[in-house]
């Protein structure tokens, strides 16, 4: 996969692939929560958008260099994740999802009202800056390299989280929370940590995306984006490690190529949702894994 991604900008339009990578990281972070901890967060856009605004502001108004702006955005998302997670973990299952949706709406509302976000206009003209004081990110190919490194880093972090004792406990919680509690694990604790990690990584994706496109918009914090990330993960394969990456690339490509017929985008996305839920629950990677008989 890394090989494909390295040659990608020479084959396809680099900004498009960068967008795919950011959304793929976002989807992987989301998948950490739903695929491995079994928690469906319906408001994950609040971390993408919130971190985006934070790092945009840091880079443009406070003059942070790119690496610090991204770190700041990630930290903001993690803090937000702590608050939201602490509130949401109090309930389980569908209630948890509803709570994340409600709190995401509140964050969206804040994004609209708070003066520094400039409401509908968003924060424009965010400087990409000079990485570590030496690497100029204004060059598209250099930026692509940076985004690729961030994506691979995030991907590696998620891999490490999943394949660790912590990840094993998360899977146990997803399968049978009562039994995990009876084994002596404080499941609320684990769920909260997973939530914060997922939020932080989603924030990383959001902060990077803002630097790529050099603006922070409201759309990133809207619930339609939360819906889109669920679609990406569902299409690619819930709980499959590379599922969200495949799903993200497909959905971003779909939105890009349907752009001239923008009216069709929600209809097609909705239809894909319906079809996936009814007959394609394992997702693309799941089906591939079953067909090739290898674990993916």
């Amino acid at each position: 996969m890394t090989g494909l991604l390295v040659i990608a900008p020479f084959v396809a339009y680099p900004v498009f692939v960068m967008r795919c990578l950011c959304m793929a990281l976002f989807a992987c972070a989301f998948n950490l929560l739903i695929g491995y901890a079994g928690l469906l967060s319906f408001g994950h856009a609040m971390f993408l958008g919130g971190a985006g605004y934070a790092s945009a502001h840091a880079a443009k108004v406070w003059g942070f260099p790119p690496e610090l702006a991204i770190l700041f955005g990630t930290a903001v998302a993690a803090a937000l994740g702590l608050v939201v997670g602490w509130l949401a973990i109090r309930r389980q299952g569908i209630y948890f999802s509803m709570i994340t949706l409600g709190l995401a709406q509140m964050v969206h509302f804040l994004c609209v009202q708070v003066p520094f976000t400039h409401g509908d206009d968003g924060i424009q003209g965010v400087p990409r800056g000079v990485l570590f004081g030496v690497i100029d990110l204004d060059d598209t190919l250099t930026m692509y390299g940076f985004v690729l490194v961030i994506f691979l880093l995030g991907f590696a972090i998620i891999y490490r989280i999943i394949h660790s004792p912590f990840g094993a406990v998360l899977t146990a919680i997803r399968e049978n929370e009562l039994r995990t509690t009876s084994l002596g694990y404080n499941t609320d604790h684990y769920k909260l940590i997973a939530f914060v990690l997922s939020a932080a990584l989603a924030g990383l994706a959001g902060a990077t995306k803002v630097l790529v496109f050099q603006n922070a918009t409201l759309t990133d914090a809207e619930w339609t984006t939360s819906g889109a990330v669920i679609l990406m993960t569902l299409l690619g394969g819930l709980g499959r490690f590379s599922g969200p990456v495949v799903g993200a690339f497909l959905v971003v490509a779909l939105e890009q190529y349907l752009a001239p017929f923008s009216g069709w985008v929600p209809v097609v996305e909705g239809a894909v949702f319906v079809v996936c839920v009814l007959v394609f629950r394992e997702g693309i990677v799941g089906k591939l894994s079953a067909a090739l008989k290898i674990p993916l």
Binding site: L40, L87, R90, R91, G93, I94, Y95, S97, M98, I99, L101, G102, L103, Q105, M106, F109, L110, V112, Q113, W223, G227, I230, L234, G263, W264, V265, P266, V267, E269, G270, A271, V272, F273, V274, V277, L278, R281
Partner: protein
């Protein structure tokens, strides 16, 4: 002072819609364990059916109040039979995703046909004008909405909680196999319940048509607030949805007068508060 009362009435009217919609959601969830994300889109459908009846067939408000809910109810029954039924044995989250997808499709199709700006629907002649109550002017139509929604909500509560049919429905949620063994046709009851739940949304849509612009975004503007109402009220509780719906509409109206900037977020802030103090919801049963 006039402004305060006027805003409170508007708030109560909004609350009436929250109550009607969350009632439908609570029924569908309480009795089917399905989170009907498509509820907003079906509410919008009801409004459009009413508009379509007037625009294309010259059928006015009165008959529309009966026809539109029927149409939406039938659509609901078809959706339930063909799609939702297949997912009952799975995690309820899949139904949430399915209805979310349906909402996107329905809203997207209407958006392509009608665009984002709304169609207008005139207040029926019999309900135009307003009454001077001394301390404020009350538009007849708004008063009508308040009364009729209260009646419908209480009637639904009565049927579900105090009649034999209601008790069958509630028993079927707890133990469908056992109830079926007693000879009750549970799948059919479930289908009818879903149809009734969305018919309530369609009814709300007809009520909404003269007040709000009939646009494809009608449902998505309100559905998330309605979810918050259901979480606050307690998800399976019918009386909870009714009371919380009206109360939250009132609170939102009050906030618009006192601190307008916060009016969009007050419902969610209350939701967060309720979750801290009483996670099961105000009227819900702690599980």
């Amino acid at each position: 002072m006039q402004a305060l009362y006027a805003q409170l009435v508007i708030g109560l009217v909004n609350g009436a819609f929250y109550a009607l919609l969350s009632l439908g959601l609570a029924i569908i969830f309480g009795l089917l364990n399905v989170i009907n994300f498509a509820h907003g889109a079906l509410y919008m459908l009801g409004a459009f059916v009413a508009w379509g009846l007037l625009h294309y067939a010259g059928i006015g408000y009165g008959p529309a109040l009966i026809i539109a809910p029927l149409v939406v109810g039938v659509v609901g029954v078809i959706l339930e039979r063909t799609l939702l039924q297949r997912l009952y044995r799975l995690d309820p989250l899949y139904n949430l995703l399915l209805t979310f997808g349906l909402a996107l499709v329905i809203q997207g199709l209407f958006q392509m046909r009608f665009g984002s700006s709304g169609e207008s629907y005139e207040i029926p002649a019999a309900l135009q004008g307003s009454a001077n109550l001394g301390f404020m002017q009350l538009p007849y139509y708004r008063g009508w909405v308040l009364i009729v929604s209260l009646v419908v909500c209480l009637a639904t509560w009565f049927v579900t909680e105090r009649t034999k049919l209601g008790s069958y429905l509630r028993a079927a949620t707890e133990n469908p196999a056992l109830v079926q063994a007693f000879g009750v046709n549970v799948p059919r009851m479930i289908t009818v319940t879903y149809g009734l739940g969305v018919a309530l949304a369609g009814f709300a849509g007809v009520l909404a048509a003269p007040i709000f612009p009939v646009s494809p975004g009608l449902g998505s503007e309100v559905i998330i607030v309605v979810f918050a109402v259901v979480v606050i009220g307690g998800m399976g509780s019918i009386m909870g949805s009714i009371v919380t719906g009206f109360a939250l509409g009132l609170i939102e109206g009050l906030t618009k007068v006192v601190y307008p900037a916060a009016s969009g977020a007050v419902v969610f802030a209350l939701m967060a508060l309720v979750l801290l103090v009483r996670p099961a919801g105000l009227f819900g049963k702690a599980s």
